[in-house]
């Protein structure tokens, strides 16, 4: 039962072996005969579209679910986990996308939560010893973190370090990381990769789940691809490239990953002049024409989302003017913005997007209750039909429009929000990270939708942290750095290197 200590692994023995794992939920076969071997001292990437079975497989490993068939071996010993605590005991630690920390406690308190070193009296804690041990642990893995800092004061990247330290305190020998970079800035992500490499050198077996294929090619030793609950491919990362992985994931070549852009660029629709806001953006000026998709690039914290929030009336404007179709607007709230024909798909669909426990149809019609058809009183039948129609237009997968939003997959939840703005028939749409955390198939659908909206003569502002998609879909690129607009480029006449340079130049000098 004792887990192997992380340091010793001269030969890369199999830290984890899962064989013939199957799991069925009611009529859905979530996993079919999946075999996977992860060697100590390697990073094993697990990829697949949403619903491919990655998280079910990991929940079985974590003891949350029990497999219908199949066996788990940890360091050569057969194990079966009836409970998450047993998996933890066997040296398996999970770091989920949504971090699991007590915000008001310190780093050290979080690391030792539930296993605090005792003080001189019973029922007391020795804070001194806890601090010392936390500092020792951080030092051993050369993490630069203050054990006395409160977690709420840490950046997301540092919170992940705390999660990793927590796992190391449990003597984890197998670490599962689920989408660890989805909320990190480029620089934080780079630092995390360094940490992962260090852990690999220390002999940990790391299962790495991510939608960002670039980082998988970069980081992983081995790549396993799941599709529809089955393992469809497993190969050394060095022999793979992104098109190949995508091919295995979707079972077809995505030659048309990005749609062909053929929208007619028309008159100026939105004009922003000298926009500043309380959130720290300064003197932003640009325009967006009908039929145009304008991308916004920049590092996390550069003020991209803040531009969207200032236009949409969430943050208070402190200067500047916004003109839509020649009319000067005075927007003071999202309600004003929506009434003027502006839509914002926010970057965090759970926090600022959806009412998860309410029906899909209600989520779609929420900003649209002032429209014809709903006044003066709501007509549920008509509402369901309207929501159903717009849902069908963009192929939302739901059991019915009356199903609660929480029952949909991430990609379909995102589509609900898109459906909302389609129904609102907004002229100018801002999409803030619309493809974050959704699978490859859903991403192409989102790109296709953006393209169709542009072809209908709408104007689109597309904020993204992923340069490939900005270059794939945008006509022009705005580059932001520290709250200012530092570049306004035609996509075809620039390069990712130039954009990165503009976005990050201050930090390089």
């Amino acid at each position: 039962m004792t887990p192997a200590s992380p340091e010793v692994t001269p030969a890369q023995h199999a830290a984890l072996r899962m064989t013939s794992i199957s799991k069925r939920f009611g009529p859905v076969q979530a996993l079919r005969d999946v075999c996977i071997t992860v060697r100590a001292g390697t990073v094993h990437a697990l990829v697949g579209e949403n619903g491919a079975g990655k998280s079910t497989l990991m929940k079985i490993l974590a003891g949350v679910y029990q497999p219908d068939t199949g066996a788990i071996e940890i360091h050569g010993r057969p194990q079966s986990f009836a409970h998450p605590a047993q998996a933890l005991e066997a040296g398996i630690s999970m770091i989920y996308q949504e971090l699991d920390l007590a915000e008001h406690l310190t780093v050290a308190e979080n690391i030792f939560l539930g296993a605090e070193p005792g003080g001189p009296l019973p029922f007391t804690i020795s804070h001194k010893q806890m601090m010392a041990r936390a500092a020792g642990l951080a030092q051993r893995f050369s993490f630069d973190i203050d054990p006395a800092a409160k977690v709420e004061d840490l950046a997301t990247g540092d919170c992940q370090i705390v999660e990793i330290l927590k796992a190391l305190r449990h003597h984890a020998s197998i670490l599962v990381m689920d989408e660890p970079t989805s909320s990190l800035s480029e620089r934080e992500a780079k630092r995390l990769f360094e940490v992962v490499r260090r852990l690999r050198r220390e002999g940990l077996a790391i299962v790495y789940i991510s939608h960002r294929l670039e980082e998988i090619i970069d980081l992983a030793d081995q790549v396993s691809v799941l599709r529809d609950g089955a393992l469809v491919h497993c190969e050394q990362a060095a022999r793979l490239d992104i098109p190949k992985i995508v091919h295995y994931m979707v079972g077809r070549e995505l030659t048309d990953f990005f749609p062909t852009r053929a929208a007619q660029v028309g008159a100026v629709l939105l004009q922003v002049q000298g926009l500043s806001s309380e959130a720290g953006i300064r003197d932003i000026s640009f325009e967006v024409r009908r039929g145009e998709i304008v991308g916004v690039a920049g590092l996390v914290g550069a003020g991209r989302t803040e531009v969207a929030r200032a236009i949409f009336g969430v943050d208070k404007r402190t200067g500047g003017q916004i003109t839509l179709d020649g009319r000067a607007l005075n927007i003071r709230s999202p309600a004003d913005a929506i009434a003027s024909g502006i839509a914002l798909l926010t970057e965090d669909r759970k926090r600022t997007g959806l009412c998860l426990e309410l029906p899909c149809s209600w989520n779609i019609t929420l900003p649209n209750l002032d429209c014809i058809g709903f006044k003066p009183f709501l007509k549920p039948a008509q509402e369901n039909r309207l929501a159903g129609d717009v849902g069908a237009r963009i192929a939302i997968k739901w059991s019915s429009p009356a199903a609660v939003a929480a029952s949909l997959s991430g990609g379909n939840q995102q589509k609900l929000l898109i459906a909302r703005w389609l129904l609102a028939n907004s002229e100018f749409l801002i999409f803030d990270e619309p493809t974050r955390g959704i699978d490859v198939g859903a991403k192409t659908e989102v790109y296709g939708l953006l393209n169709r909206l542009a072809e209908e003569g709408k104007a689109i502002l597309f904020i993204s942290s992923e340069l490939p998609e900005l270059f794939g879909i945008a006509d022009r690129l705005l580059v932001m750095r520290r709250g200012r607009l530092v570049g306004n480029l035609v996509t075809k006449q620039t390069t990712p290197e130039e954009v990165m340079h503009l976005a990050a130049v201050e930090e390089k000098t």
Binding site: G26, V314, A339, R351, L366, P367
Partner: protein, 317 residues
């Protein structure tokens, strides 16, 4: 299917209680007179519970309804006795009734405004106004009540054999049902309670809707206050002490979630009747009021525990 069963749960309990009491006390319990009495007695807390349902769905709470009811009654009593005559004139009674209702509206508006404009938690604001309203009720007549002997219509009057207060109760139930289900205000109430930030980003004027909900609740309290005043033919500064807890209990037993986004008018009615019939049954069976408190407490915890279990099961499936 599971959802359906879950919603039936409070109904089932209510039916069970009625069936049990009918079997135990067929002569006294199962009579039109007794049912009419129970409905009449639960009318004013039921009316307030309609407002409380909306408040709780929006993710808030209103602890001030009991004190507010006393204050509305005292204002009405003050006006009805302006002439100093023992029996108030019809004109003054109408004026007093309107003033009492208006007072509720104002109190609700005050709650809603403090919550939204000062951005304070509803629990804190209404805890404060609960105390303040009670204090003012005592101040109005130096802690004494107003007798309004002729003010009997709302308490004892009947329309086609049905007590007036039951008729008013039913009308307000219909109104609340309609508002929550068929108006943007109702829809926004669910949205705000489910995810306030998301509602705001979808263009919902959160503050205006919250003020509307608390004001509406205030108006309902004003109406309830007039029924309570008429039932006792007196306006008492001690009216409605701990009434807020009964009302919140009824809403919660009816399946509403104190974290917002969930609750129905039908559920609240069932919750209200459940408490009323329990009280009535205990009285008929000769169980003391002290024990009644214990029974009701157990029912609150049991109902919510069952609801949670059914919910967890539905989510696991």
């Amino acid at each position: 299917m599971n959802k359906f069963v879950r919603q039936l749960l409070p109904f089932g309990t209510l039916t069970l209680i009625i069936a049990a009491l009918s079997a135990l006390e067929p002569d006294t319990f199962l009579t039109a007179q007794n049912f009419s009495n129970v409905l009449s007695r639960s009318s004013y807390s039921g009316i307030i519970a309609m407002g409380m349902t909306a408040v709780i769905i929006s993710g808030g709470i209103d602890l001030s309804v009991g004190s507010m009811m006393a204050l509305c009654g005292m204002i009405a009593g003050l006006i009805m006795t302006l002439h100093g005559e023992i029996v108030p004139t019809p004109g003054l009674m109408v004026l007093g009734t309107l003033a009492g209702m208006a007072m509720g509206l104002v109190c609700g508006l005050l709650n809603g405004s403090l919550i939204t404009l000062l951005n304070l938690p509803p629990f804190i604001v209404t805890l404060g106004t609960m105390s303040a309203f009670r204090g003012i009720s005592y101040v109005i007549n130096q802690g004494m009540m107003f007798d309004v002997p002729a003010y009997t219509f709302l308490g004892e009057g009947t329309i086609a054999g049905v007590p007036v207060n039951v008729v008013i109760f039913l009308l307000i139930v219909l109104l609340a049902f309609f508002i929550l289900r068929y108006t943007p205000l109702g829809r926004y109430t669910y949205a705000i309670g489910s995810n306030r930030q998301a509602a705001y980003h979808a263009g919902v004027n959160v503050n205006r809707n919250l003020i509307a909900i608390y004001t509406l609740t205030g108006l309902f309290v004003g109406i309830a206050a007039m029924i309570a005043t008429s039932r006792t033919v007196s306006a008492q500064p001690t009216a409605g002490i701990s009434l807020e807890l009964d009302v919140i209990a009824a809403v919660v037993i009816g399946g509403a979630s104190l974290s917002g986004g969930r609750g129905t008018v039908i559920g609240t009615i069932v919750g209200t009747l459940l408490i009323s019939f329990l009280r009535n049954g205990c009285t008929l069976l000769g169980i003391s009021t002290n024990i009644q408190l214990v029974v009701i407490g157990a029912i609150i915890i049991g109902a919510v525990a069952l609801d949670q279990a059914a919910r967890a099961k539905a989510e696991a499936a």
